[in-house]
């Protein structure tokens, strides 16, 4: 079944569309009006049903928006069909009623708080109840690397019963747009409480209007972008900023022992392939514990083999010329190093394309990869040396994908936690956080709501 995407949202008008301040003003006023009429009056159960129903639809093979995402998505987003499928399936599999209830419980302490004053067990005895209220209008400013953060923002916004304006970075609105349309299809009144538009960041006139109407603003982007946004917000507007983060994997000797190595490498390849390594949760480097230097080298070699295999099943897809140039240039630099110091640097490259690259180095200094399946494997004597090597990005680390023996995991996790890591997961799961994942170690919903305590 083929569908034409109707023109519900500003983003439907295409990338050439030019918006005026009055168009944005009108959109904001409509959002606030619709929220008052349609969203504020719904209860949490209804919102969860709409979300989980939409997610179930997305998991059906013949769901038109899914078909569109997989058919036109590669052209619109640059991700291959297989990459999109894996990423979207993970997201929508997570979006179940149960998980959403858990999320509310985790964030607000009680599932019903958005509907009426409610007491968690510890509050009931003190005769105290609390209710939470969302914003009239929530503004999301989404960076464009991968689509999921923008989609997750919409979910969170709906849970707080806020109307939402999603400002996507140029060229990145396609999947969030399909998601918004799918919500509109499930419940048009809820869909009417969402607006989506796309323009290149820094259009001060349009953004000024948004900042005026938004009660809360969330943004993802570089630290400079976030700082610039925060400065322009009117006093009293709540702001939640998520700066760019980087992630790495850590594999211990024990994990590499015996027959487990193969599995580790497959999982590591999953992390590199997911969203072509473009997310904040994607690894730039895998550190592999190594006394004799052999484990790390083997890991790199096997990872190269695995990435070559994945390229056949789940190709990376085309990249813009500038990206190919960056990869080509970086590759040639490592070719030179490897020619000069073959013990300290090795490389494995896809032939005739830039589809994947593995660089092995004995130097533990953290290196930012140029992404798009360009991965470093670095040998390291232990966790301490690894963290010294990653010191330069200490304040920007999000996730560590861990491959370790059962007995050593807890100690490693605490070590990482104290050092500043906000998420540790198994290798292979780096780009698959659960719905309840605390983004950058911060609460998901409590920053977006206003609390009212009632002391009975």
């Amino acid at each position: 079944m083929k569908v034409e995407i109707p023109n519900y949202f500003l983003a439907d008008l295409g990338p050439e569309a030019e918006f005026t301040e009055s168009m944005i003003t009108e959109a904001c006023l409509a959002l606030r009006r619709n929220r008052e009429r349609y969203l504020a009056v719904r209860d949490t159960g209804a919102v969860i049903r709409i979300l989980s129903q939409t997610a179930e639809n997305w998991l059906e093979d013949d769901y038109p928006y899914r078909e569109l995402a997989l058919e036109k998505g590669p052209e619109e987003t640059g991700f291959s069909r297989a990459t999109l499928k894996a990423g979207l399936d993970h997201f929508f599999n997570q979006l179940t009623g149960e998980n959403l209830e858990d999320l509310l419980l985790q964030e607000l302490g009680h599932f019903k708080r958005m509907d009426s004053p409610a007491s968690a067990r510890y509050e009931g005895t003190a005769q105290r109840a609390s209710a939470t209220t969302g914003s009239d209008m929530l503004l999301h400013i989404a960076a464009g690397n991968i689509p999921l953060p923008a989609m997750m923002s919409i979910v969170l916004g709906l849970l707080t019963r806020s109307s939402q304006f999603v400002k996507c970075a140029s060229g990145s609105s396609y999947l969030p747009r399909l998601f918004a349309h799918s919500l509109y299809e499930t419940d048009s009144k809820i869909g009417a409480c969402i607006e989506l538009a796309e323009w290149k960041g820094g259009n001060e006139a349009l953004e000024k209007v948004l900042f005026h109407y938004a009660e809360s603003v969330t943004a993802t982007g570089s630290d400079e972008t976030l700082e610039a946004i925060e400065k322009r917000l009117p006093r009293g507007t709540r702001f939640v900023g998520h700066g760019h983060r980087v992630s790495f994997g850590y594999v211990t000797k024990e994990a590499m022992g015996g027959y487990r190595a193969k599995r580790m490498v497959r999982d590591a390849a999953d992390d590199v392939v997911a969203w072509n390594q473009l997310g904040c949760l994607s690894p730039h480097v895998f550190y592999v514990e190594d006394d004799s230097r052999d484990f790390a080298y083997q890991f790199a070699e096997m990872l190269a083999g695995e990435l070559a295999k994945r390229e056949k099943e789940e190709p990376r897809g085309e990249v813009p010329q500038e990206v190919a140039e960056q990869i080509a240039s970086r590759r040639s630099m490592y070719e030179v190093r490897a020619a000069h110091l073959p013990d300290a640097t090795r490389h494995w490259y896809s032939e005739g394309s830039t589809a994947w690259s593995v660089i092995y180095e004995t130097d533990t200094l953290f290196q930012l990869s140029c992404m798009h399946r360009f991965i470093y494997v670095k040998s390291t004597p232990n966790l301490e040396e690894t963290l010294k090597g990653a010191e330069t990005v200490r304040d920007n680390i999000s996730t560590v994908g861990l491959g370790a023996g059962e007995d050593e995991k807890e100690e490693i996790v605490m070590h990482l936690a104290r050092w500043g890591v906000s998420r540790v997961c198994a290798l292979g799961q780096m780009q698959k956080p659960p719905l309840t994942w605390r983004h950058d170690g911060r609460p998901l919903l409590s920053d977006l709501v206003r609390w009212t305590d009632w002391e009975q």
């Binding site: 190919a324 970086r330 630099m333 020619a339």
Partner: protein, 394 residues
């Protein structure tokens, strides 16, 4: 030419003496018991000089393969680089000679010259904080360099002319011993320039600025006596000069036949100006018509340069190297040569690069044209660095 040889030698010694992580200078250089190589190098160089100076007919393929084999033999790092790409000295197709990336000039001392005969080290003028490329020269290699640049310069910018004055917007060679551009200007000034030619750059803190008072005096003088001049300099020097003229409210109508050779990017040294705009401003301020403005493309890693047209001619602009340097434009994605009209990365095969790397992979994005190339841009963020490489938002 043995200008300041002692100090340069000391400097080269310091460079080599520095113990950095990558220090295989000795390994990379021919030793006395490999003088055999040296004689073949010498034969090659003599032949090259005949080609350049006397226009001898030559087979590019044969020359390219013979210098490739010599460099393959003399530079172990290059040999390993080739072997990793499964290219050996038995190669028979010059187009398949692996070009050394310019970044390698930053990391390795890519030279076949024994340490004790090195007189000069050209360094790239990268942006602050970057390691510069280093290109090592001895007196013999400089003769090849000088022969190559003189020949092509004279064919494009200016044949030797009596009474013509050069105003060179850089310091003199002794004040900028590591600049290949300054060395080229110095050669031009020495060989074809009149006694009245002048360097008007003042070296300072590793860079240079222009002595504006002096250059304006020279321009006033030239305009008054209707004397033809040629201004040579980098694009950013011209921007500074034009800004200064504007500040002082000066415009000139230089004598017909006066010309400009501008080269190079901006590297953060002045505001950047699109080429057309810069040329328009030169015409407005100095009275030199656009067809008399010649652009040069060169880099410290090479010994030959490309020019975009012959001064005064109305032909369209396209960068061309001399016959002893050929280019290929390859796709970053596949490494294969792109079709005519498409853009890719520029490779230069410069036969005049005798003792370093004949084949060089640049980081310049160019459009491949039938008889040359057009500069489009530069690869960004190629070098791995710290957190500043974070993806930016759009």
């Amino acid at each position: 030419m043995i200008r300041g040889r002692k100090s340069i030698l000391r400097c080269a010694g310091r460079l080599f003496g520095r113990k950095n992580a990558i220090s295989a200078v000795a390994e990379n250089q021919p030793t006395k018991n490999r003088m055999y190589d040296w004689h073949i190098f010498e034969d090659y160089r003599r032949k090259l000089l005949t080609i350049i100076r006397e226009g001898m007919v030559f087979d590019f393929k044969e020359m390219a393969l013979s210098i490739f084999r010599l460099q393959y033999e003399a530079l172990p790092a290059y040999r390993r680089f080739c072997n990793k790409r499964r290219v050996y000295d038995s190669l028979g197709i010059w187009e398949l000679i692996p070009p050394m990336p310019t970044t390698a000039f930053k990391e390795l001392p890519l030279t076949a010259l024994p340490e004790d005969i090195i007189t000069t080290v050209f360094e790239s003028s990268g942006t602050t904080g970057q390691k510069p490329s280093r290109h090592f020269h001895c007196e013999d290699s400089l003769t090849a360099y000088e022969a190559s640049c003189l020949n092509w310069f004279q064919q494009h910018v200016l044949p030797p002319l009596d009474g013509h004055r050069y105003i060179i917007l850089t310091p003199a060679a002794e004040d900028a011993p590591h600049s290949s551009l300054v060395h080229m200007f110095d050669t031009i000034e020495r060989v074809v320039g009149a006694a009245t030619s002048e360097f008007v750059g003042v070296a300072k803190d590793g860079g240079w600025h222009i002595d504006h008072d002096r250059v304006i005096d020279l321009l006033v003088d030239a305009a008054r006596f209707d004397r033809t001049v040629t201004l040579l300099g980098t694009a950013f020097s011209f921007v500074h000069l034009l800004d200064e003229c504007k500040k002082r409210d000066k415009t000139f109508q230089l004598a017909p036949g006066s010309r400009v050779m501008e080269t190079g990017g901006y590297k953060g040294k002045s505001r950047t100006m699109p080429k057309d705009e810069l040329h328009k401003a030169i015409t407005e301020t100095l009275g030199i018509q656009p067809q008399w403005i010649v652009c040069e493309y060169g880099m410290s890693e090479l010994s030959s340069q490309a020019y975009d047209h012959v001064a005064g001619s109305e032909e369209y602009r396209v960068f061309r190297f001399p016959p002893w340097a050929r280019t290929r434009v390859v796709s970053a994605e596949t490494g294969n040569e792109v079709k005519l009209g498409e853009t890719g990365l520029l490779q230069v095969f410069d036969l005049a690069n005798v003792y370093s790397m004949m084949a060089v992979q640049t980081e310049d994005r160019v459009k491949r044209l039938e008889d040359g190339f057009e500069l489009v841009g530069r690869v960004n963020g190629a070098e791995p660095r710290g957190c500043s490489l974070m993806p930016s938002d759009s």
